[in-house]
């Protein structure tokens, strides 16, 4: 079953690629370069000539092709999990992932057919992050570390799930990051990315001297960034201070610190560069990585709570690290 886990890695990686290419579609204003859906200029999607993938079509049709591949991989994943994973909740999660990607594809089609209505575009962006979170979570749940409970004989500190402060911090941080992503999507899809053209000030002042929808949503995104930085730092430093021997927590915590610094810098550069396509799109991609890293940390902190002893028939998974459970799910470190 190590192959199932490797497959989930491929799907999660493909989903990140899909997210980034989707960001390129918006950054290059190519969202309506292909006026029809699900066909492409009248062609069946997969028979559209590659030689005609020019200009904005390259991004939009490329996004559709990658989305189709991700959908296909998700079908395989859902079926694979259904037939081999004894955990009922995992089988359900596979189905949920499949339903999510279908809804996501439909939302994408609706954005084209109705000329990119902002609420639908924002929903498409928000659901993309949820789907990415699902694929990464499934990868986590099929990993050897998760299956063996991150056993560490030299562990000195108490279990992470008993650290109520950490539990709250990780959930709050994850929620804040997702909220910030939604605000960013609303800003992008209402054309407010440069509503405040200077940085770090706003029209030369700390607070914008006048307000509009665009200025409001843009400023909210900037303030939200400060909250996210604070929450990420508080979470990561708490892990470093109280759970230093737990590699499964230290690694994502350290990665969170790195990502939030990069993300904040990219956000500033997006404004200062006048929304350079590469910088703008990277900001989206790093934001997605920041979100799923926080999700991984949250899940790992709560690993013991989420894997309380029960039988596969009732949906749980025994936290035991016996050889039999290793072999049933292919958990090999």
């Amino acid at each position: 079953m190590i192959w199932l886990h490797r497959f989930t890695i491929i799907l999660a990686s493909s989903t990140l690629l899909l997210l980034v290419v989707g960001g390129l579609v918006t950054s290059t204003e190519s969202g309506l370069a292909v006026p029809d859906w699900p066909n492409t200029y009248g062609y069946f999607m997969f028979s559209f000539p590659l030689s005609q993938m020019v200009g904005g079509i390259f991004y939009e049709h490329g996004h559709r092709l990658i989305a189709s591949m991700v959908g296909f991989l998700t079908i395989i994943l859902a079926g694979w999990i259904w037939f081999v994973d004894p955990r009922r909740w995992m089988r359900r999660l596979g189905v949920i992932a499949l339903v999510t990607v279908i809804v996501q594809g439909t939302l994408g089609g609706i954005t084209v057919l109705y000329y990119l209505p902002a609420p639908i575009s924002v929903a498409h962006a928000g659901l993309a992050e949820i789907f990415f979170c699902l694929t990464v979570s499934i990868a986590l749940f099929t990993s050897s570390g998760w299956l063996t409970g991150y056993s560490n004989p030299s562990r000195q500190h108490s279990a992470a799930h008993k650290d109520l402060t950490l539990g709250r911090l990780t959930v709050i941080t994850t929620a804040l990051i997702y909220l910030q992503i939604l605000i960013g999507a609303a800003m992008r899809h209402t054309g407010a990315g440069l509503a405040i053209p200077d940085f770090p000030l706003a029209f030369g002042q700390l607070i914008p001297p006048s307000w509009s929808w665009g200025i409001g949503i843009h400023f909210t995104h900037r303030v939200g960034a400060l909250f996210v930085v604070f929450a990420v730092m508080a979470t990561a430093l708490h892990v470093l201070a109280h759970h230093r021997n737990k590699k499964e927590l230290i690694h994502p915590a350290g990665f969170l610190i790195l990502l939030v610094i990069v993300q904040f810098t990219l956000g500033a550069l997006t404004v200062l560069s006048g929304k350079h396509v590469g910088i703008n799109t990277s900001h989206l991609g790093v934001g997605a990585l920041l979100f799923v890293t926080s999700v991984v940390l949250t899940l790992r902190v709560n690993h013991a709570r989420l894997t309380m002893t029960s039988t596969p028939e009732t949906g749980g998974f025994a936290a035991s690290t016996t050889a039999s459970s290793h072999s049933s799910l292919g958990a090999n470190r």
């Binding site: 309506l32 200009g55 079509i57 000329y115």
Partner: protein, 260 residues
Amino acid sequence: MEARKMWTIASMMVIVLTGACGGNGGDTDVAPATEPETPAAMAFDPATAGNITGTINLEGTAPEAEVIRMNSDPVCVGERPDNPMTEYYVVGDDGSLHNVFVYVKEGLEGHSFPTPSEPVILNQDGCTYLPHVFGIQVDQPLQVTNSDPTLHNIHATPSLNDEFNTGQPIEGMTYETEFTEVEVMVPFKCDVHGWMNSYVGVLDHPYYSVSGDGGAFSLNTLPPGDYVIEAWHEMLGAQTQNITIAESETAEISFTFTVS
């Protein structure tokens, strides 16, 4: 045989019912729905028509035009070896400003004008829109033509009229539509080739002009009266002027746009 008779009878009933429900006029017991009466068009003697002519000038130095990089589509690069330039500011050597849409904004209330049946042509040639700025009347056909051996999509983003976005993957394809509401201006763009854009002014009368060489424009055969004339430029905004046309008079006005 019985089934065939039944289908024949059913088809005849459908035809009869359709004929009874459709068509205009005829004797009915139901009074036709009342419609608001269209006011009679104001009488206008063409012999008294006047004209407005003028020029559009630019004060200050406009940003220089830049070469349009068409690298995202090799076909466009091949079609345009002449280094096409951006058209945000087209300024003559004499300081005249081209591509300014000039039209009668007010003063024609009470007049009605027939809708031309001849279509206005918007051509995609050399991966640019021709013309860049133009006018059309409400309900007049607009024919968009692809004269390039590459794909284009024609995406109009009006505020009052219906938005549309249609693809033309094949050279020679045409698309016909019309606008139903007065709107100045409706932008066009191609989402495949981001540098392509055009603007159309939709009016309910034929008195519009686009400044060309020398910044010249003309609005001909106008009924005598008081008018508000507006001049619109895609980068410099709009200006208005009041003018009165006497019978058979040709009046001159000019507009000056300033680049700060």
